[in-house]
């Protein structure tokens, strides 16, 4: 069947709708090609030009491959692959001749719209995909509706009904489809490059750039009451190595030794579950003094997973805020006292002077903090640049800095006086969602602080930022007296409506993460355990899924079949008239759906004049039964007899 060119327009719109979310990520060459394909198609639709010949189409396909090679260097992988399919869908419009070509483009659209989930799995994109699927289905209706008897509204209505009817199947697939841990395909993965979050090193400026991001780092559900704001130190990474500018993790292979010594005070255990947004790294965030974790814990009390976290990741942990980590060995002492050679002489001199005056390490720590407090240090998001002797420059000249400056300088002063010390980066604080029972920790809560070794207490947290800006720790980032223009707008806005909206949206996001994205292998197993089925393996799950799909499909089939059957039982007339029509169909005469019985009779008589009498009486009995008020069995019997004896001749 040939396709009218004006029907291209909805298909063109469809491909654009499919691709809309990925346009912002596509390279310029690809966008340029897509734009020119679109204009070209519009010219074809308006009749100003014709579909290009095969040779040109091959050249264009070549241009597609070249644009991908120029932009990505390869045609394999997620982004190049989806871009290629997208561009080829546009190209297909140039050779659309038959219904088959259109169907190909539409089905490709269904696939392409699902690839949006490679990039993000937010509820918004899911809603968008849902809408696009409805639109694509309405396109299928256009091309199966040969009479053009539907308008846009009806098509969308039918399509919506079809999509809604498929929800039960979707749920079966969702609950029963075996979850595969790790990525489904071993394709080159380029998703993590653009993820925001705390990096694995700290230099001046690395954290205050995060502060202006309102993105959620993770969400936490506490089993009991959450700890106070000032105790919410979410440890991410411990940085021990300093080169004069940047604090880094230890280069040495991680010394994994889980047996950690705790001073157990009256243990008040805090149980919490974290839903970590993908950050492309291996470490997990936890409160201090991790007691129990399902993942590997290093000597520095960092929880670490085996693979980078590129999808939403949820885990449960237990911390004991009153405990202290007393594990330390000689190698560690050495490591946490190291300073770069020949730098920051003035600071070292200051450290030595203060330590002499203090007498012990505790007093010394207090006097360093006091030094920050009494001298005119400022807490600011836009500190001036520092020179080669960065610590000297900061302590004696600029005196303006953000948490990374204070924690770095503090650890430097500690080490200079012989106190083992290290920098910890992570997040501090968090906001309870007043509409739901969980806490949101945002990128803007990113923070850096210090831990020092005291012989009698073990590793002790000291936050020099608190000395400069106590309200940062007690009331959170928005109350730290920082420049408001640098903070995310919604954090500083006072509008009640915006406040409500923000938490409602986050609440929705959280539920989506919890129930949809978070429904992983483990949750699936838990669900079946709840139903009393233990240790279900993937093969069983899969076969159950197949059985459930078959059953529900069978039920639908039965229902449709049953409906047809009861109708034919009720309506003997239609049934036997149908038999009559089929007999004629075999003889080569097909009744059109819009043809009335009389019109059909006229044609029958014309072609099979010998059947005139029989065909007339069948038509008469049928009309009597179907349209008359008399549905006596006598008529039915006559109709049945006549139809059974009927032969087209």
């Amino acid at each position: 069947m040939a396709i009218d060119e004006h029907k291209f327009t909805p298909v063109l719109i469809g491909i654009h709708l499919v691709a809309l979310p990925i346009y912002s990520r596509l390279p310029p060459y690809v966008l340029l090609l897509i734009a020119s394909f679109t204009i070209w198609t519009l010219l074809i639709i308006t009749g100003r030009t014709r579909q290009p010949v095969a040779f040109i189409r091959i050249l264009l396909a070549g241009a597609v491959v070249v644009s991908l090679l120029v932009s990505y260097g390869t045609i394999l992988g997620q982004e190049p692959g989806t871009s290629m399919l997208l561009m080829l869908s546009f190209l297909k419009l140039f050779e659309m001749k038959s219904k088959r070509d259109v169907l190909l483009v539409i089905f490709l659209g269904y696939f392409l719209v699902a690839t949006n989930f490679f990039h993000t799995q937010s509820p918004w994109i899911a809603a968008y995909v849902f809408v696009v699927v409805i639109y694509l289905t309405s396109l299928l209706i256009i091309f199966s509706d040969r009479l053009s008897s539907t308008n846009f509204k009806t098509r969308i209505k039918i399509s919506l009904r079809m999509v809604v009817q498929s929800i039960p199947l979707m749920l079966i697939l969702f609950v029963l489809f075996p979850r595969i841990q790790g990525p489904l395909w071993g394709i080159p993965d380029d998703a993590k490059s653009a993820i925001t979050g705390v990096g694995d090193e700290m230099s001046p400026g690395s954290i205050n750039n995060l502060i202006s991001s309102g993105a959620v780092a993770f969400r936490v559900m506490f089993k009991d009451e959450p700890p106070e704001q000032k105790d919410l130190y979410w440890r991410g990474l411990v940085l021990s190595h300093y080169d004069g500018r940047t604090w880094r993790r230890d280069d040495a292979p991680e010394d994994l030794r889980p047996e950690i010594e705790y001073v157990t005070a009256d243990a008040k255990l805090i149980e919490y579950a974290v839903m970590l947004e993908p950050h492309g790294r291996k470490w997990l965030y936890s409160l201090e003094n991790l007691v129990a974790s399902p993942y590997t814990v290093t000597r520095e009390l960092q929880a670490i997973t085996e693979k980078e976290i590129n999808n939403l990741f949820s885990y449960s942990m237990i911390s004991n805020l009153q405990a202290t980590n007393k594990a330390l060995n000689a190698q560690e002492i050495k490591k946490n006292l190291l300073l770069p050679q020949g730098l920051n002489e003035k600071s070292i001199a200051l450290a030595k002077k203060l330590r002499m005056a203090a007498g012990n390490n505790v007093t010394y720590t207090n006097s360093v903090l006091n030094y920050f407090k009494t001298n005119p240090f400022f807490y600011t998001l836009s500190p001036p640049l520092l020179g080669e002797n960065a610590i000297d420059d900061f302590i004696f000249n600029s005196r303006q800095g953000f948490c990374e400056h204070y924690s770095g300088a503090f650890v430097y002063l500690m080490r200079a006086a012989g106190v083992p010390a290290r920098v910890v980066i992570g997040y501090q604080g968090g906001t309870l969602n007043p509409l739901d029972d969980y806490m949101i920790v945002r990128q803007s809560d990113a923070h850096a602080w210090a831990e020092i070794w005291l012989d009698d207490r073990g590793w002790t947290r000291v936050d020099p930022t608190a000395a400069v800006s106590p309200s940062r720790i007690d009331y959170g980032i928005t109350n730290a007296g920082l420049e408001e223009s640098r903070l995310p707008f919604f954090l500083v806005s006072n509008s009640q409506l915006l406040f409500q909206l923000r938490y409602t949206i986050d609440s929705l996001n959280h539920s989506w993460n919890k129930w949809v994205i978070g429904f992983n292998d483990k949750k699936q197993r838990e669900l079946f355990e709840m139903l009393g089925i233990k240790d279900i393996d993937k093969a069983t799950l899969f076969s159950w899924m197949v059985v459930a799909m078959t059953l529900s499909g069978g039920l639908v089939f039965l229902w449709v079949f049953k409906q047809g059957e009861t109708k034919s039982k009720r309506d003997v007339a239609s049934y036997y008239y149908g038999v009559f029509c089929r007999k004629l169909e075999k003889a080569g005469l097909i009744k059109l759906p819009s043809e009335s019985a009389d019109e059909f009779l006229a044609r029958v008589v014309q072609i099979f004049p010998a059947s005139k009498v029989k065909a007339s009486s069948i038509t008469h009995y049928y009309q009597c039964l179907r349209y008359g008020s008399d549905d006596s069995d006598k008529h039915k019997k006559r109709l049945i007899d006549a139809v059974k004896r009927f032969r087209a001749e």
Binding site: S148, T150, N151, L592, S594, S596, A597, C624, R626, S629
Partner: protein, 316 residues
């Protein structure tokens, strides 16, 4: 249907067939149009005849009135015709020193509104309102029109000069619109050879009268309609409302018009129930003036809204 009822129906059919035969003696070669005009009359609807002058619009109306034994009034519409010329007016009576209402030509059983699109919209709407309400309100007093009440309006093709085309909302008030067209060769010859039509009309004997016609009309309303047929009408309505081929779909009034016209036709045909066939026969005259095709495509193929519907909507 009980036997007395079915006897009545049979009698009605007989009378209608006889009437059709009488009319056909005067109006030659136009059996289908005569049948439709009678259908319209039996369905208590009004008829619009659209054609060029001289094809026998007036003669047809006159003949029907004569055969049906109805009192007949012809109103020639002109651009200076006033509403009071149709409805009547209150005139001061000097002797009784009071106003007295003089009934206009509309107070008749059968009205021929000739060249209705020559009058101004104001005058047109006076008639059309009377058609719809079957009563007339002048100077605050409402007066019922006689029963039965039947209007045949004739209209020149819209593109001719000096016409005020009836708006769609007014067209909807006519149950049917038909075209007469030129007679075929044989009929034309007979016409040329035959006697003066006007004289022939005068010699025609009425087949029924107003009272009998009302009985027949009641009989038509009793014709059986099966669910399957209502399904078909609804399918037609839904199709016209959803198809992009039409500017607007058929109104509920359009649906009722189809049903009533089909019932009357079934009675005329002597059928005890309505068939999809009947719907198809009345379709063009009932539907074409209510629907506007969006594309020229069908027009170019010589298709009308009705033929498009008949060929597309499946019969349930």
């Amino acid at each position: 249907m009980n036997s007395s009822n079915s006897n009545l129906a049979r009698a009605s059919t007989g009378l209608l067939k006889q009437a059709a035969k009488s009319i056909a003696q005067v109006i030659l070669g136009k059996d289908d149009q005569i049948r439709l005009a009678l259908t319209c009359l039996v369905a208590q609807g009004h008829l619009l005849i659209e054609d060029t002058p001289g094809v026998g619009k007036t003669t047809l109306a006159h003949t029907i009135a004569q055969v049906m034994g109805l009192d007949f009034q012809r109103i020639q519409f002109t651009s200076d015709l006033l509403p009071s010329d149709i409805l009547g007016a209150a005139i001061y009576n000097r002797e009784q020193s009071s106003f007295e209402f003089h009934k206009g030509p509309v107070f008749s059983n059968f009205i021929l509104a000739d060249e209705v699109n020559r009058a101004t919209p104001k005058t047109q709407s006076a008639l059309l309102e009377a058609m719809e309400e079957r009563q007339v309100t002048v100077e605050g007093a409402t007066r019922k029109l006689p029963q039965p009440f039947f209007v045949i309006a004739t209209q020149n093709p819209v593109h001719q000069l000096g016409t005020y085309p009836l708006p769609e909302s007014q067209l909807d008030r006519f149950l049917m619109r038909i075209h007469l067209g030129y007679p075929d060769k044989k009929a034309e010859r007979e016409l040329l050879q035959g006697a003066d039509r006007r004289e022939m009309i005068e010699h025609l004997k009425p087949v029924v009268d107003g009272g009998k016609l009302q009985t027949i009309q009641k009989q038509a309303a009793k014709i059986h309609v099966a669910d399957a047929l209502l399904d078909y009408i609804q399918a037609v309505l839904e199709f016209t409302r959803n198809s992009p081929m039409f500017e607007f779909g058929l109104s509920p009034r359009g649906g009722l018009a189809l049903l009533n016209a089909a019932r009357s036709l079934a009675l005329i045909e002597g059928q005890e129930y309505v068939l999809p066939e009947h719907i198809k026969i009345v379709m063009a005259s009932v539907v074409n003036h209510r629907l506007e095709l969006c594309t020229d495509e069908l027009d170019n193929q010589g298709k009308t809204a009705a033929s498009y519907i008949s060929e597309t909507v499946p019969i349930p």
